[in-house]
Symmetry: C2
Subunit: 430 residues, 2 copies
């Protein structure tokens, strides 16, 4: 049954990809209106989820809870997608192969996206509207704690979209854990998976499917404090990287300090860490300058704490710091704090991470802060999309060659016509 | 031992990614010179391969054979890569997040590329020079028939490059089938695999690795002849698509004809096919107009002949043709022949293929013809790279955020500073 729906999504994804901007925006507006009109149903369904969630931690229940203000937020998030530029059908480049034979590279949707996320019901309208605007069909599943809320949101939004002319198969809601297991085998129909959740969960998905996965299993981020640096700035940025929101993937885990400034810098940052309740795990050299620090162990260098804990190491050189980051990091986000242009340049060129920060907090690596309007996820992949990914990560392109009856035979052999191969301007218009 | 080399390639890929254009071009020039100076060694090694290849088909032996003219071609291909623009370090976009806080999206190499190809030794210099220029380390294997030639070419070219300052681990030659099996498990070190060979071989690779694979397993290409069409043009283009080089992936396999022109068009194209020695397998409707045609079977629609055979079907409408292509095609290359703008537009929007041809032969979908300078492969993937892929397919990007000590804390809470989020011009210069 799920397989049938996923097959239908694949088939309908073609008509969806060809919808015009106005049609998609009109459907989004209908979705916003329907959600506004049918608030009571959402609140009722959500009350059931909350009632069943009694035993869960308070923070989780809070994320699960939907009220009128949260519904306002959902409606606003749908309308904000109306305002985003349509990424489909953009002419990316035009090359004349010969007179009257012109090659257009044109953006188009990937096809069918699989999205798996945790409990928050407000992700449902966000995913459905981003996939619709980008012309992709979506097969998705939210946390089981939010099953009632997700189901009602899905019904309201998909029926509104379909009534506005969006192909019926465009949205598929998965409801069980078994469904998630089942879609991992559907690489013939699903073109990209975006799992959002714990490291173990993402790793599990990556290990059990042939579908390309966009995301990151872990975020082991470093800040390296170079020898020529404004120490007050360094304290401020390192503290922000660790403490501003320690639970997230772009928070600092391991602090590296050049030996020439260790004695001066470490007591200062230690004070900030102590004030913020951060547990410091330091190597022998760093520990000398950090009151109350405990011994770091080798396994700390490869750990994502996601908590108020930091590992600290003193290094002998910029090069040592870079090698350490490339060995122990997760290619996510790493920062250098320095006043030295040559050190910035070396660090930027040699750190193999999606996001390299120079004199700025690691916490900036985020779709919203990067000005993307909407964040699909943060990727540590080396192909397709890397770092914070907006709607552009849901796009690919096709080549369209417009000719006048040319054959390859004419361009081969002794009297071959010559290709002109000129990059020209313009836009595909048919 | 292979694993050690692949790990070293991963490590050295960082220094390789940071090499300047001049250094890379100087190394390429050294490679060209070394090959010129050491021709005798190549010819000697190749003679051994040819001697062992006695039992193989003549065409294969010919592809295997190296002579002075072929070495000239190899040298020329290395020098042509010197002339290609350096794809590394290009600033792709610049966004001001706030005054003094600027985000650069900068192109960089993917890292380590695995390439597996068949017998021709001339692919060795091509792969090594493209990977070097794009700043990627490469782990590769050629056909075992060419083992002696490949080994000598590898030794000459890698020692020349290393003597010019290219990191030692940049090139790894695999020598056995076991090596290929082994690298499929090395997803921690190899970022992208490019297999070039038979459909079964590519499929085998795709099915047995977690490394992303760039390529295509099959090329089942269609030409659809619409009802309003210049019939002579249609005959010419359809014949070229089928017959100009039937063994390759972008050759026509299934010809679709609108019923309104079947009676007039099919006898004409049949004549061209008969003259060219093409076996025609037609559905009942088409067969009426095609003398000598045999009955097509259902399985023909999903077959890549790679030979002088064509399947033919009469369809009732443009929409039926498009549905048929999306169902039976391989998302590679499909063409419409028509004079009708609306039909072109529908076909281009709804055919889910990497390359969509309008009034041009399917045979044009090729890196050289597309003006890419060098072709890495043809991809039917839906992410990263699609269609003929040049050096751009070996690239990804990183984000570099240049700040002056900003923290995320300053942009949060009640007195939050505002992001400006302005796309600005410029280039990352450190």
């Amino acid at each position: 049954m799920l397989v049938g729906k996923v097959k239908a999504a694949k088939k309908d994804s073609v008509a969806l990809s060809a919808l015009g901007t106005d049609e998609k925006n009109a459907a989004l507006e209908k979705m916003a209106e329907a959600l506004d009109a049918r608030r009571a149903e959402v609140l009722e369904a959500n009350a059931k989820d909350v009632a069943s969630a009694k035993g869960l931690p308070a923070a989780m229940v809070k994320r699960l809870e939907v009220n009128d203000a949260k519904i306002d937020g959902m409606i606003e998030s749908i309308r904000s997608v109306v305002g985003l530029a349509d990424p489909v059908g953009e002419t990316l480049s035009v090359m004349e192969l010969d007179e009257g034979l012109v090659l257009y590279k044109v953006s188009c949707p990937i096809g069918v996206i699989g999205v798996i996320f945790e409990s928050r019901p407000d992700v449902v309208p966000q995913i459905m509207s981003l996939c619709l605007k980008s012309g992709n069909a979506v097969v998705f599943k939210g946390g089981s704690e939010a099953a009632n809320s997700n189901r009602v949101l899905f019904d309201i939004l998909s029926s509104a979209a379909i009534s506005a002319g969006v192909p019926k198969g465009s949205f598929v809601l998965m409801e069980s854990r078994q469904d998630v297991g089942a879609i991992l085998a559907l690489d013939e129909y699903i073109d990209l998976l975006i799992p959002r959740g714990s490291n173990e969960f993402v790793k599990h998905i990556q290990d059990n499917t042939r579908i390309p996965v966009l995301g990151h299993a872990s975020g082991i981020c470093h800040v390296y404090v170079d020898k020529s640096v404004d120490l007050d700035m360094a304290v401020k940025v390192a503290a922000d990287s660790k403490m501003q929101y320690p639970a997230v993937c772009n928070a600092l885990e391991t602090l590296l300090v050049h030996k020439d400034v260790a004695k001066e810098f470490l007591p200062k940052i230690n004070r900030a860490f102590l004030d913020g309740g951060v547990e410091v795990r330091a190597d022998a050299e760093s520990k000398k300058h950090m009151e109350g620090a405990v011994d770091v162990s080798e396994s700390d260098w490869d750990e994502e704490y996601g908590d108020l804990i930091v590992a600290v190491k003193t290094v002998g050189s910029l090069e040592e710091a870079v090698d350490f980051i490339n060995e122990h990091g997760s290619n996510h986000t790493d920062a250098i704090l320095t006043a030295d242009r040559a050190a910035m340049s070396y660090f930027v060129d040699h750190v193999d991470s999606a996001d390299v920060m120079v004199n700025a907090s690691t916490r900036f690596s985020d779709g919203f802060r990067y000005g993307k309007g909407a964040e699909v996820g943060i990727s540590t992949n080396k192909i397709h999309s890397r770092g914070p990914v907006g709607m552009e990560g849901l796009m690919i392109y096709k080549y369209v060659l417009l000719g006048e009856g040319q054959t390859v035979g004419e361009y081969s052999g002794p009297n071959a016509k010559r290709y002109t191969h000129r990059e020209i301007g313009g836009k595909l218009e048919l």
